[in-house]
């Protein structure tokens, strides 16, 4: 492994020898080669990837509702590290094991990348492109809504709704997302809109 250093082109023999551990061990203060003399170039070059990141982005932990602040580090458009933000008066830079696993969560190879589609009575997943899927879902909403529309009840009271479409989810979503959901569903007349807060 010491030989690796020889590949360092353009370095004079004197300086190359000076960086060779045994030489440093023999000539320096680290006679037993247990410290300064034994450092590899890789050790010398060690740097925290938080320091070499292209940018740091301020975020909030997506797990529980304590709301710990996170620093998200990005290099080459990839998230490379997520850790606590000491500026936060809520969390003071700390994260629990779940929050600390955020990097794995967002960069996980198990995350689905593609739309998956299962036909009625189908036995396998199939593919759909995003545009087609969105169009199909819009059509399903319109059709189900039309078929299940209740304008009034049997006593003639205004209902203006569909009981054919329901939704569940929201507690891990952003407020802005919940807002659009509630707004769209309400305009569509869907009332069975629920989330984890009930569960």
């Amino acid at each position: 492994m010491v030989g690796d250093e020889g590949r360092d082109e353009g370095v004079g023999v004197r300086s190359w020898i000076a960086r060779w551990p045994v030489y440093r061990q023999l000539t320096g203060d680290d006679g037993l080669g247990r410290g300064a003399a034994a450092r590899s170039p890789r050790t010398e070059a060690l740097q925290a990837r938080t320091e070499t990141a292209d940018r740091e982005v301020k975020s909030i932990c997506p797990f529980c509702a304590v709301g710990c602040a996170q620093r998200v580090f990005v290099k080459d458009e990839q998230v490379t590290q997520i850790e606590g933000d000491p500026d936060s008066p809520v969390s003071r830079g700390r994260l629990c094991p779940r929050g600390s696993s955020s990097l794995s969560l967002v960069t996980s190879p198990t995350r689905e990348q593609k739309i998956r589609y299962r036909r009625p009575y189908g036995t396998e997943w199939g593919d759909l492109d995003l545009d087609t899927a969105m169009d199909m879902i819009a059509d399903r909403v319109i059709e189900t809504r039309a078929n299940s529309w209740q304008h009034t009840d049997e006593l003639g009271r205004h209902l203006h709704r569909t009981m054919g479409i329901a939704s569940l989810g929201g507690a891990t979503l952003d407020n802005e997302e919940n807002y659009l959901m509630k707004k769209l569903y309400t305009a569509l007349g869907a009332v069975q809109v629920e989330n984890q807060a009930r569960i």
Binding site: K58, I60, C61, P62, F63, C64, A65, V66, G67, C68, A69, E77, D87, S88, V90, R94, P97, R98, L105, V106, S108, R111, E112, K114, I115, R116, P120, T123, W125, L130, M134, I137, A138, I142, T144, L159, H160, G164, A166, L168, A171, L173, D174, N175, E177, N178, Y179, L180, M181, K182, L184, A187, L188, A190, V193, E194, N195, Q196, R198, I199
Partner: protein, 865 residues
């Protein structure tokens, strides 16, 4: 708290380091117990007996904070003479209708004032059974209409300032809890009397003028058929001790999801609109005026509900919403009962619900009676699932438990399933609202990859497509969709130009609201009922004050006061402690220097302190409302509880609840013991669903009850998150808790022959699951009234998919709900446990059926008792 909210627990540890006594009351000895000064064991489902015991201790020792109680609570209010307590009716309050299993709440009101009860118009409706049921359900959802503010009230209640009147709230409270003695607590909860008394002593000596005590509960408290009354009971206790609205006091709900508070404030919930405005009911509110009249109070900030509602309708329907058309009030769909998630799933099974969106949820393993959930999923026309990983809710049709048992066959399931990958929090802008009402903005770090998109993207573009397809429609039903304000600016990043992402900041600005000039508003008091203002959620008004995203503020905590008002933004109006006017005495002076927070500065003519006063800034303590004053003007200068109809903290709830004005101990739906306090076993008003897939166990004393002799309670561990969708796929979390396990005591292990690290099967009338046995000294049997009660702890994080797999605890649970909020009981139920793995395939079905037969459940479902 150390288990589920470790970073929040740092503050408990810090308090402990500064001398605080930490008491942990829990059926299980957890990591929180390990760090507490004392762990107090309790039988799952008996908390009201425990808290009621504390209330009784406070009252019998005159340990309440008298000045606070007299001035700030409804202790002096006198009740109507037709009110009857559980002490009079062996566990029922007055007004119970045995036929419908619900209460007529009119007799619970104050004398001299009509508190607008949610069921106030019951007598005006017809007499058909259908309507009675309908009204009952309406009652249930009506209770939530008072969500953030209590129930409206008209008139002035009679009072006795000396608290001596036999029908004043204080005396009624005393009598109601008089039998909640330490001995009774021991009998019901299994907590040794001397340990209970130490808790009581610690609590009262640490409360009052100079000191405050805080309660923190994880939301397991809500997972009971008396869940709301659990919280109420803590509220009563804290109000008696003067621990509300003061630093170091309060009742803190430790909620379990990043923005579960936000998803209640801006609700993806059926019964409310943003800011806790109720969804209108079909048969109560015919137009906007009557809707507002029925639900807004004369007094307090709910008196402006018309302004909040009109501003919301203007945000949603824009210029289409005019005074002439009631601001499109009829665009809102109407409720006719309980449309909560459990009812929805039963409606799926019954073929009423055809299409279902599941967004960042995993009900196939994450909701009680999971089989019921899957039966619903299997009977849909179409299902859209959006998540990070391939969760069980998306794959039920191919590998769900019913496929293995033969109860379902893939090729016979007609549900069309769309799985759409979701963007992670690092891939989108937006706000989470944390458990202390704090909105915090998270910035997008990178673009999502592949087909992954934010839910903002999904709903914006779904709405856009639907609107385009309906643009030419002349159908009346399509009018609201066409009138919708749906013009959010989009941005495209250079790295993924094809992603047309709507601006979350623009949405947040709409939520904040704008004035007549189109500029962002800074406070909800600017909202008007004349259509001149728009606001998507009145309690969030101010989050974009000055055209600045206040939720994105990140002034370091070290550079500001301990209240840290410049980090994020808390609703309402950036107030960090609610009702903080109560931190000062009626004259506006601090109760004590040690606990000073907000006080009246007479010279400056305003309330001052480190927090934003939760009171009108310049209303003096001696302000007396003039005759006929409305809304906030009707709140006196010495009435801190500005959202309440009477300006006071409620020791007794004259309206707003459907199962009693005072918390009373009832046994869980399934319990191994009889109710030691009353003849009524369980909450008389609880919601049951007697359906084939949802059988209930016989209660103690009924034939078959011995088939399920043990108590079980579900729980979370630090290393996993909820139903596992965000942790079971993560290797670094999976290895820390690699398998589904069952926590049992050495005594139970001996009784049932269970081996440490071996397998065991837990059985209920719903299903049977297996797990590895963790025998631990931390689990200890309780002795109640001569009986030994074993409790089994079951984590609910597992399911069949992911890196670490296991049976889901929710398979075991039946659905029985709190009638106020329709939340199910998961924290206390009964079961059997046997050594060995559960049967596979069709044998599982016969195994569970055999248990049902032995419990006598094949013959018919248990009667209400």
């Amino acid at each position: 708290m150390a288990e589920a909210h470790p970073v929040g627990f740092q503050w408990v540890m810090e308090a402990k380091a500064r001398g605080a006594t930490v008491i942990h009351v829990d059926p299980r000895y957890t990591r929180t117990s390990a760090l507490a000064d004392m762990h107090v064991p309790i039988r799952a489902g008996s908390d009201i007996a425990f808290l009621g015991g504390l209330i009784n201790y406070v009252l019998t020792h005159d340990a309440h904070f008298e000045e606070y109680v007299k001035a700030y609570t409804n202790a002096p209010m006198i009740l109507r003479d037709d009110f009857a307590d559980t002490e009079d009716l062996d566990g029922l309050f007055s007004g119970y209708d045995h036929e419908s299993g619900s209460y007529d709440v009119r007799s619970w009101q104050y004398q001299g004032a009509e508190v607008e009860a949610s069921a106030g118009k019951r007598d005006e409706t017809g007499a058909s059974v259908e309507q009675v049921i309908d009204e009952r359900l309406q009652t249930a959802s009506g209770s939530e209409q008072a969500g953030s503010g209590g129930a409206p009230m008209r008139g002035t209640p009679d009072r006795d300032g000396t608290l001596q009147h036999p029908r004043c709230v204080f005396q009624v409270l005393k009598r109601h809890y008089s039998r909640y003695t330490p001995e009774m607590v021991a009998k019901v909860c299994g907590t040794p009397p001397e340990q209970f008394e130490r808790v009581a002593r610690e609590l009262v000596t640490n409360s009052g003028r100079e000191r405050t005590s805080a309660f923190a509960y994880a939301v397991g408290w809500t997972h009971h058929t008396v869940g709301v009354q659990y919280i109420r009971c803590a509220s009563v206790l804290q109000a008696l001790l003067g621990n509300i609205g003061r630093p170091g006091g309060g009742i803190m709900a430790l909620r379990g999801h990043a923005s579960i508070q936000g998803s209640t404030d801006i609700p993806t919930l059926y019964n409310i609109l943003p800011g806790y405005i109720p969804m209108p009911h079909a048969h109560r509110e015919q137009d906007l005026a009557s809707f507002v009249a029925a639900d807004s109070g004369e007094k307090g900030f709910w008196g402006n509900m018309d302004a909040y509602t009109v501003s919301l309708l203007r945000s949603w329907f824009g210029d289409a919403a005019t005074a002439d058309n009631d601001y499109c009030f009829d665009h809102l769909p109407r409720l006719t009962g309980d449309h909560g998630t459990f009812q929805t799933v039963m409606d799926q099974i019954d073929g009423i619900v055809k299409g279902y969106f599941v967004i960042g949820e995993n009900p196939a393993v994450g909701t009680a009676n999971s089989k019921q959930q899957r039966l619903g999923l299997a009977n849909l026309d179409w299902l859209v699932v959006r998540d990070l990983n391939m969760i069980e809710t998306a794959t039920f049709w191919s590998d769900g438990p019913e496929i293995t048992t033969g109860e379902m066959a893939t090729e016979r399931i007609g549900t069309e399933v769309f799985f759409l990958p979701a963007a992670a929090h690092t891939e989108k802008d937006g706000t989470f609202t944390n458990t202390q009402r704090l909105l915090q903005w998270h910035h997008k770090a990178v673009e999502p990859s592949g087909d992954a998109r934010s839910d903002l993207w999904f709903y914006y573009h779904l709405g856009r497509r639907i609107r385009a397809k309906l643009a030419a429609s002349t159908e009346a039903r399509d009018r609201p969709v066409r009138d919708l304000v749906w013009d959010y600016p989009t941005v495209s990043s250079p790295t993924r130009p094809e992603i047309d992402e709507p601006s979350a900041a623009a949405v947040l600005r709409e939520i904040n609201g704008t004035g007549p000039d189109g500029a962002a508003l800074s406070t909800y008091t600017q909202l008007r009922n004349d259509g001149s203002t728009r606001c998507g959620c009145w309690i969030y008004c101010g989050v974009y004050a000055g055209e600045v995203n206040q939720a994105a503020r990140r002034k370091p905590g070290s550079e500001q006061s301990w209240v840290a008002p410049e980090w994020g933004w808390a609703w309402p109006l950036n107030r960090r402690i609610l009702y903080n006017r109560a931190s000062a005495d009626p004259d506006g002076n601090a109760w004590s220097q040690r606990k000073a927070y907000i006080r009246w500065d007479a010279e400056a003519g305003k309330w001052v302190g480190p927090d934003v006063p939760d009171f009108e800034a310049t209303k003096p303590p001696d302000y007396v409302p003039p005759e006929g004053a409305k809304a906030q003007d009707a709140i006196g200068g010495d009435e801190p509880f500005i959202m309440q109809a009477d300006g006071r903290a409620w020791l007794y709830a004259p309206a707003g609840l459907v199962d009693g004005p005072l918390p009373a101990h009832y046994e869980p739906e399934e319990s191994p013991v009889r109710n030691a306090l009353y003849g009524w076993q369980s909450n008389p008003a609880r919601q049951q669903y007697k359906r084939p897939e949802n059988p209930y166990h016989p209660v103690d004393g009924h034939p078959g009850s011995d088939v399920f002799p043990y108590v079980f309670t579900t729980f979370r561990v630090t290393e996993h998150h909820t139903a596992g969708g965000m942790s079971r796929w993560t290797p670094h979390l999976s290895e820390l808790q690699p398998e589904m396990f069952l926590e049992i005591s050495p005594e139970l292990a001996a009784e049932r022959g269970l081996e440490h690290r071996g397998w065991a099967t837990v059985v209920t009338a719903r299903s049977a699951i297996e797990g590895r046995v963790l025998v631990t000294d931390r689990a200890k049997p309780l002795r109640l009234d001569g009986r030994v009660i074993h409790q089994i702890g079951i984590p609910w994080h597992w399911g069949p998919n992911g890196l670490t797999t296991g049976d889901a605890a929710n398979e075991l649970l039946g659905v029985s709900l709190d009638p106020n909020v329709h939340i199910m009981e998961t924290k206390a139920s009964t079961c059997d446990i046997r050594p060995g793995r559960r049967p596979r395939g069709p044998e599982l079905v016969t195994y569970v059926a055999d248990y049902r037969r032995r419990a006598g459940l094949e013959a018919g479902l248990e009667e209400r008792s």
